[in-house]
Amino acid sequence: MSTAPVVDFVDAVAVYNGYPALAGVTMQVMRNEIVLLQGPNGAGKSTFLRACAGLVPVVRGSAHVLGCDLVIDRESVRERVGLLGHQNGLFADLTVMENVSFWSTVVGATTAERGAAMQRMAVDGQLANRRISELSAGQKRRCALACLVVRRAELWLLDEPHAGLDAKGRDEIDLIIKEAASAGATVVVASHEIERAKNLATRTVSLVAGQVRDLS
């Protein structure tokens, strides 16, 4: 297995809505790490995650994710990362099964992989036939994670995954993240739930005004 960092940003600058949301970020994330990103609102956490997913262009410095140079090509990495942002990316009028099936078809996953993902996220059984619009926030989040699992992402980028969930839902999310890491994925979590996320993370990194302060 490669020992190269999964995420390797050096003096990376990213501009979002005309504002330098990342102002020279230098940061590495190694394989199987669970890294907690913390920082105040507007510190650049979401932009960092979106830059890792190849959604926000890095205009200066260097940025490599899973060996892909994001300065040259932001698209080739996308198939290998999974980003769960503030939104779930689900279709409200479709059922859980239809949502997960859509993603399975799009990425060419098998029926067995779809079933396993739904079982792992506990959205199988009766829940599978309920529309997304009828679900609680935690159930929606679990369904979004099932869609992420079915894609077999190597790098999970989670932006406030605990938001809107009750204690049980938060515990479930933590368990899912730990399982993903033990199955070989690398996870970067941006969270305001510092105490909870600290117990989960193998390392904590602080972002302030678009720059990194490593707290590990």
């Binding site: 926000v56 996308r78 999974g82 939104q87 990316g89 689900l90 479709l94 799009v106 997304i132 894609r151």
Partner: protein, 229 residues
């Protein structure tokens, strides 16, 4: 896992049509709206001769008005919970998204046009012969393909924009003007209204087919950059 364009297109089209079947926006909102437009025209013009002469134009005008609602609806589904972002992050080929959404829009528009043409026959008392029917069907298929491609292209362009509800018609109307003109002329030929013959309509259909090819190809090439940040 590799993602083929045709598989993505089929999945996106099936998903959009399933959402439509479940929410029934076309049947419960767009069809009544376009039916009302046809009836209002009938009241406003109030002359069988005039209505028969302009029937083709009225059908296509009602189609365009309804198309704005359909295009906005099809992209609202993608942007409501960030699904379009998720598709981009997943590295899904934008050509597949473009073709899938165009196909779903094509089918929805086709259903709408069938109802509008039937209502034109009933309300405006237009008739169509054997050769005219062939011309009309070809015209409808080519014009609908053009509208579906250009609608998807501009829907993608305005999907993330502020004020997209008003921006979309503003951008789209000038671009679809050639479809309105050509489809109206071809339909008049099919109805043989105003002294024109069926044979005269084929030249307009050729323009419609060219329009569909240009915007189909343009969409395949540019849709990816249009939905990027």
């Amino acid at each position: 896992m590799s993602m083929s364009v045709s598989r993505v297109a089929r999945a996106v089209a099936a998903k959009d049509l399933r959402i439509e079947l479940r929410t029934r926006v076309v049947t419960n909102q767009v069809l009544p709206f376009s039916g009302l437009v046809m009836i209002m025209f009938a009241f406003a013009l109030d002359s069988d001769d005039v209505l028969q002469r302009v029937a083709g134009g009225l059908v296509w005008l009602a189609t365009l008005f309804s198309m704005f609602i359909l295009v906005q609806r099809t992209f609202a589904v993608e942007t409501y919970d960030g699904a379009l972002d998720s598709l981009r992050v997943a590295g899904v080929q934008p050509q597949g998204i473009f073709l899938g959404k165009s196909l779903a829009l094509f089918i929805e528009l086709l259903v709408l046009e069938v109802v509008l043409f039937i209502s034109a026959v009933v309300l405006y008392r237009v008739s169509v012969g054997g050769l005219g029917a062939v011309l009309l069907v070809t015209c409808v298929l080519c014009a609908t393909a053009g509208l579906a491609f250009v609608g998807t292209l501009y829907g993608g362009l305005t999907a993330g924009a502020r004020g997209r509800e008003t921006l979309l018609p503003l951008l789209l109307l000038p671009v679809v003007a050639p479809v309105l003109i050509c489809a109206t002329r071809a339909t008049e030929s099919a109805f043989e209204s105003g002294g024109v013959t069926v044979g005269e309509g084929w030249a307009w259909v050729a323009v419609l087919a060219t329009f569909a090819c240009v915007f189909g190809l343009g969409g395949l090439l540019s849709f990816g950059s249009l939905i990027e940040e």
